[in-house]
Assembly symmetry: C2
Homo-oligomer: 202 residues x 2
């Protein structure tokens, strides 16, 4: 039973991520999401209290997807370079697999003066911020280790971290799947960006 | 007289860029912009036919600012590495100087399924796209030259171009001026990012 609920929950999240991506986080309605599922609004409201709660859940899920993929490949026995390269490859592959979620997050990267009206809105913003920071800290630790060991150039750590993560996230901006895409294209992009990211650190 | 009109035009554009940045491209109204100028809506409508025209003008101006700064520093007598590094430094400095415009552009990087209703909307989108591409082509040409000469790694040119430009634009995401910012911080960031961008190409 709980598995069924969980499946339904994730099915709704996936549909919501796609609708928010396509129509915009301001424009997509619960009606649009229900329509794309061929379902009723009631089914959605059974899982999520409001449109805002659903959007928050999509944004919270994005760093969770990448964290779950990247954390297990981290290995302190590897050099920071090798460690970073593995993490970067894994990160980019995870982003391609869950692209709509990351495109939705992108729509919140704009530094708007947010007016989080309710306490629960503010609590959700804090959870999203913590999840994002917690994930970024995985990369912060390996970049820091590389600077300490002298493998990576010593430069402002936060500037390095955020800039290199934006480089690894570049496909979120310009990539959309295309039917005529060469086979293995996303894997090739992942390798190229992991190489570029590592080169930018050294 | 035409200079006066032009000054007023640019003053309105600056105010609009700041309002769109702070309040969001969907939320900021002509009223908000007029209020921030201590002026009437009539003055704005004297220069711009609509809120949409004003937003389009802000987005069109962003690549114009960077193009005007970067084109003059390009020098075919320099090596592609030196040429790229100069262009990157100049680009980042121009972005810091006209940050609100670039933060507004960022809000349009999301790949929404746009519904450009009118012919003039579509014409404006085409002008913005052309301005952006025309500017990017400056970097495309120098990266291409570097790959041809063997100075830069040979890899997918479009992936390289768009990813390295996103790296150079990283401050648009995470930077906002702060009163307690160390002196020379933006210049230091520009050097670091130009170095990282060049390293990512080699």
């Amino acid at each position: 039973m709980s598995e069924q609920i969980s499946d339904s929950h994730h099915e709704i999240l996936d549909a919501a991520a796609k609708c928010f991506m396509k129509l915009g986080v301001n424009a997509a309605s619960v009606d649009d999401i229900a329509h794309s599922l061929g379902s009723t609004k009631g089914r959605i409201y059974h899982h999520f209290a409001s449109r805002g709660a659903l959007l928050g859940a999509v944004r919270l899920q994005a760093p969770e997807f990448t964290r779950r993929a990247v954390a297990p490949v981290m290995d302190d026995n590897l050099s920071p370079s090798q460690n970073f390269h593995n993490m970067a490859l894994t990160h980019i592959a995870a982003v391609f697999e869950t692209l709509p979620y990351h495109k939705v997050v992108l729509q919140h990267y704009t530094g708007l003066e947010g007016k989080s009206a309710t306490e629960s809105d503010r609590a959700m913003e804090a959870r999203i911020r913590d999840a994002k920071r917690g994930y970024e800290d995985l990369f912060r630790s390996v970049i820091h280790a590389g600077m300490q060991s002298g493998e990576f150039r010593c430069q402002n750590l936060s500037v390095t971290l955020h800039s290199v993560l934006i480089l690894l996230n570049a496909p979120v901006f310009w990539y959309s799947p295309r039917p005529d895409e060469p086979q293995g294209f996303t894997a090739q992009v992942a390798r190229q960006l992991a190489d570029m990211g590592l080169a930018a650190l050294i």
